[in-house]
Symmetry: C2
Subunit: 355 residues, 2 copies
Amino acid sequence: MKIAVLPGDGIGTEIVAEAVKVLEVLDLKFEMESALVGGAAYEAHGHPLPEATLKLAKEADAVLFGAVGDWKYDKLDRPLRPEQAILGLRKNLGLFANFRPAICYEQLVGASSLKPELISGLDILIIRELTGDIYFGQPRGRRVATDGHFPGAEEAFDTMRYSRPEVERIAHVAFQAARKRSKRVTSVDKANVLETFQFWKDIVTEVGKEYPDVELDHMYVDNAAMQLVRAPKKFDVVVTGNMFGDILSDEASMLTGSIGMLPSASLNSSNQGLYEPSHGSAPDIAGKGVANPLATILSAAMMLRFSLNQEAAAQRIEAAVQKVLAQGLRTPDIWSEGTTKVGTAQMGDAVVQAL
Amino acid sequence: MKIAVLPGDGIGTEIVAEAVKVLEVLDLKFEMESALVGGAAYEAHGHPLPEATLKLAKEADAVLFGAVGDWKYDKLDRPLRPEQAILGLRKNLGLFANFRPAICYEQLVGASSLKPELISGLDILIIRELTGDIYFGQPRGRRVATDGHFPGAEEAFDTMRYSRPEVERIAHVAFQAARKRSKRVTSVDKANVLETFQFWKDIVTEVGKEYPDVELDHMYVDNAAMQLVRAPKKFDVVVTGNMFGDILSDEASMLTGSIGMLPSASLNSSNQGLYEPSHGSAPDIAGKGVANPLATILSAAMMLRFSLNQEAAAQRIEAAVQKVLAQGLRTPDIWSEGTTKVGTAQMGDAVVQAL
Ligand SMILES: CC(C)[C@H](C(=O)O)[C@@H](O)C(=O)O
Ligand SMILES: CC(C)[C@H](C(=O)O)[C@@H](O)C(=O)O
């Protein structure tokens, strides 16, 4: 089995190095091969997702991804910006199902903006559709408006869209995930305004009939953004489109106060997947050895579980992470009075030790 | 001067009655005329926004609006559902600028999900563009997909769009509002993915050059959804499009924990406006006399300020609301140990008394 290792930019290289350390001590039979992606790839090859990197990712069973992006690339044309690498990988590998858990670790409950009683025990799984919606819909661009409020004016536009099979497959993913948890799915839409999401809601409802053991409810996206703040523990599995999922999964992960702990997985229909931390490339702290590698290490665990069929190894990593937290080790982002502040490499070493 | 009074559904009639009481004791020279809207109008006339209601609203200087909607209308065809009334009013009156303050009242700081130190003193003004974007963009509908992942499959689609003058005018509104506050604007976009919001960002930046005294920054919508939870007080004026504004303004108002206190205003270019509470029609508590009328009373104050040129009267109402809070009066939604629980009418009477 083969893992493509794409560290990317900013803290990406530092945190991925720790996850690789952890994978290496497991003594499993897989090959790892690294390649440049994002700004680093642009610097070296003039493109954020060079052909060779894409080829490696496609051939691998799984991609371990760090993070991409830096302010310094903001002035580049959009197709050359680091984020395009991640969009390109999602599209080319067909990674339509994004899993973003928002879990509150008991020891870190104090890091949340929310009152402890609202957040303690939080365990939400946001399932975001990742290859459709307004992210990829054509046509898009600039033109002269022919109707609307200002005909004749310059305008820009994008197309939101979902086809029936796209909604069906992500709905199945959500219901199946719910079966392994508390058997509840909340589908988030904006059916009161958008044709696309009336269609979404209708299809999710239809697919739900095949899962009579799973309770399905529907919520408008504006209400979901509110309820996540008011009573996050009422959610279990949340399924939504690409755009709403982008917003809600980030909101949900920030509820815990420790986004440095949250992994993510993006899968295609053959369980090939891309695994990355929920946080970004944090250029402000890059190179300082203070980034939290745990989200990336936990992403590696998800990779073992979903793409490499190594459930036992995944659980070993997760237990090791729990253990270093119990030992009181904390990178600066999750540090609090009475715990021990450690750097990126020390944290990685501690996980290796705990294994 | 004329006010169109549209109470609507659910608690709408109860809370608007209290705001009308308050307006009446001010002894100002204006006429008020009521009409049905939403589900109530559908029941009586077969349409959520009857011609007569629209005509009244158009002719008035301002519209005082309660709330619309009830589960029982969910099965109606979209054009007949109560929410269409509010979309129709926005469109027909050209109410492009929506003001949604998220203010934390000191006495109610405990009602927030967030820790008191994060929320105390919160005073954000979200300015949401209200007549453009994917809410109204054409074309939209269902069809057979000719490209994308599943050509030949049934699909639904909507069009996101903004024209230059639409972005310019809302940007001016935001910069002008910021001049009266702390001179900071955060423009929220998704320029890394959407053509529409790259255009938005470019134009807001251009308009910003005309306001060198106002500090402008840009934030992606996913990041904004996170930062509202992490450090809401870092925001002052936030300007964004219709769809993102829908989500972020609801998230922001829930941060305070007392959405029953938050008014809103939607204005067109002649300062004609629609004023309504930020919360909805709450069918579950309708008719029980327990709804909080303060958001609607404060919306009436905004109406006096923005559309009726009665700043002094607006301030009197706001002071009266502060006074009843100081007296310890609370409707059930904001009640806490040690304060006095009152109903909708008692709360309205107390504001009248305080005037
Ligand atoms: C970088 C950006 C294109 C991306 C997205 O919007 O999907 C990011 O926000 C994410 O959620 O992975
Ligand atoms: C009822 C609905 C159409 C409306 C919207 O999405 O604008 C509401 O959520 C709001 O924010 O006023």
